[in-house]
């Protein structure tokens, strides 16, 4: 099978593909021989390169950023007094909620729009609502990465427990992708011998930009190919691309009830995930 490199001054397309046959003028994008260039979505198996594809330019170096998550003070729980006639008891809000606790800057990107991004911790890609700290066997701290027009930030959510949850320093890496530029100018293909940079497709592709690369193993970033968490018996199970399992649930509640003329407490722990989720495949990538 022949390989063709085709560029079209009318559409601004540059493409490298296996000749699908069918004949026609080699310089006519409407010719059957150039169908992969004209209609890439239906000829993906023939294509090696197409200038309309977004090769995921890395806009910010994914340098590690250390975030110190502060101490979560214990929840001070005060028992109600012994009941007197006419008194009643109600739920006491003990370790009551998952609380927005802190918000952290991970990286400034300055792109002017919320970009695509990925965030990893210690070599593990994370998803919204990822548990990052256990305390006494119960999740105490979760994080949610999000994007603004200028920054990638991290929302931290916590639950308070019977004892202080200690501070923890965690290293994050944020991989930020710039949107593919719109076509501009008239340059269809250009090689600059001084810089070695190749531009194609009226500026849509520029080899001087850093693009992510597929690297089997040894990289913290993964493009998920399926779901990353499950839920069973009230417990969330996250499974990272490397197979690390993190199970989390909001910690116990306490109920005060009248009992034999003195109050009593009932604490609840959790009874455990009882599903079988083992994770999904993913594509490992790295920044150049």
């Amino acid at each position: 099978m022949q390989v063709a490199f085709f560029s079209d001054p009318i559409t601004g397309v540059c493409a490298l593909f296996d000749d699908p046959g069918g004949g026609g003028q080699w310089d006519d994008i409407n010719a059957p021989v150039n169908r992969p260039a004209k209609d890439p979505i239906n000829w993906l198996t023939h294509l090696y390169f197409h200038s309309s594809f977004d090769y995921l330019e890395v806009a910010a170096s994914p340098d590690p950023v250390s975030i110190v998550h502060g101490v979560i003070p214990l929840y001070s729980d005060t028992a109600p007094p012994d009941p007197a006639p006419g008194q009643s008891y109600r739920f006491n809000n003990y370790r009551p909620t998952a609380l927005p606790w802190a918000d952290h800057l991970l990286v400034s990107h300055g792109l002017g729009y919320p970009p695509r991004f990925k965030v990893a911790i210690n070599g593990e890609i994370i998803t919204p609502g990822f548990p990052v700290q256990l305390h006494g066997g119960i999740a105490a701290r979760w994080v949610v990465p999000y994007a603004t027009a200028t920054e990638i930030r991290l929302r931290e959510i916590v639950t308070r427990q019977q004892t202080d949850v200690p501070a923890i320093a965690i290293s994050y890496q944020a991989l930020v992708f710039a949107n593919q530029p719109s076509p501009s100018g008239n340059v269809l293909f250009e090689f600059d011998p001084v810089t070695g940079i190749v531009t194609m497709g009226r500026g849509r592709f520029n080899s001087g930009k850093p693009f992510i690369q597929v690297v089997p193993g040894g990289t913290p970033f993964h493009l998920s190919q399926g779901r990353t968490a499950d839920l069973a018996n009230g417990v969330v199970r996250n499974v990272t691309p490397l197979g690390t399992v993190m199970e989390s649930m909001v910690g116990g509640q306490r109920l005060y009830l009248y009992q034999s003329r003195s109050n009593s407490t009932t604490d609840g722990g959790f009874t455990g995930y009882n599903g079988s989720f083992a994770g999904s495949p993913s594509i490992p990538v790295k920044a150049p």
Binding site: P83, R90, I283
Partner: protein
């Protein structure tokens, strides 16, 4: 030496000694934006949990003092739910050669569940900002419960699958069905299935007169139910791009 060459089916761009770009099976790309799905608002609705009533009653008599106390709760028995059999479909996948999707989502909760444990059911996710989905997002968690959703490719479609779960009440709660009357000790009983008491419905304050009519099924029993509704709706906006590995 910098250069551009096509050798066989491989395009290689070198800058000095560095390979700046090669089509040698190491690229990932998104398909042209014309195939993206930008959609919303899409309302993601989780149903209310099936409810029951946990009823606490104690009649006390030690020979010199009598007392009576009753309290009824909305309880939630263990349960699992998913819309996997009838998922929300955001669109079709443009080619079977697609290997992954890049999903960004922006959410806000527009219907709050009823109060649980005297508190609003916590939102795990921030509202009004763009998040990377990478598979699954956890939206709500409280003691014993969780809600999440996946955005995945299934059967040639981009589907949103919602899940929710409520645990079996831990044994520490001692919420076994012990009958309607207790002299001392715990006195839990249930209308149907054992579950976790999550919110008070009614209470009969401790009374020194124990006429034993406020037990469950008694002639003056407390209410077994209320109007609580633990359903939840999050409004979502999605930006989805299709990707492939070269």
């Amino acid at each position: 030496m910098s250069g551009f060459e096509i050798v066989g089916s491989k395009m290689v761009i070198t800058q000095g000694a560095r390979t700046a770009f090669t089509t040698d099976g190491t690229l990932v790309n998104l398909l042209p934006p014309a195939y993206d799905i930008a959609t919303g608002p899409v309302d993601l609705g989780w149903p209310g949990f099936t409810k029951d009533c946990a009823y606490f009653y104690q009649g006390f008599n030690d020979g010199t003092t009598t007392a009576e106390f009753a309290q009824s709760f909305t309880s939630i028995p263990p349960q699992e739910w998913s819309n996997a059999a009838a998922p929300i479909v955001l669109g079709n996948v443009p080619s079977h050669q697609v290997d992954f999707i890049d999903v960004q989502v922006n959410l806000s909760r527009i219907v709050n569940p009823s109060i649980m444990y005297n508190a609003q059911v916590p939102k795990v996710l921030p509202e009004g900002v763009w998040m990377d989905m990478s598979g699954t997002a956890i939206v709500e968690m409280a003691f014993g419960m969780g809600r999440l959703f996946d955005v995945v490719i299934e059967a040639g479609q981009v589907r949103v699958i919602l899940r929710q779960s409520f645990m079996a009440a831990p044994n520490a709660w001692k919420t076994s069905d012990g009958g309607d009357i207790r002299d001392g000790g715990y006195g839990w009983s249930f209308n149907g299935q054992r579950g976790m008491p999550v919110q008070e419905i009614a209470v009969f304050p401790r009374s020194m007169v124990a006429n034993r009519t406020r037990m469950r099924l008694g002639s003056n029993h407390l209410a077994y139910s209320d109007a609580s509704d633990f359903s939840s709706v999050w409004r979502a906006y999605f930006k989805i791009a299709f990707g492939r590995k070269s």
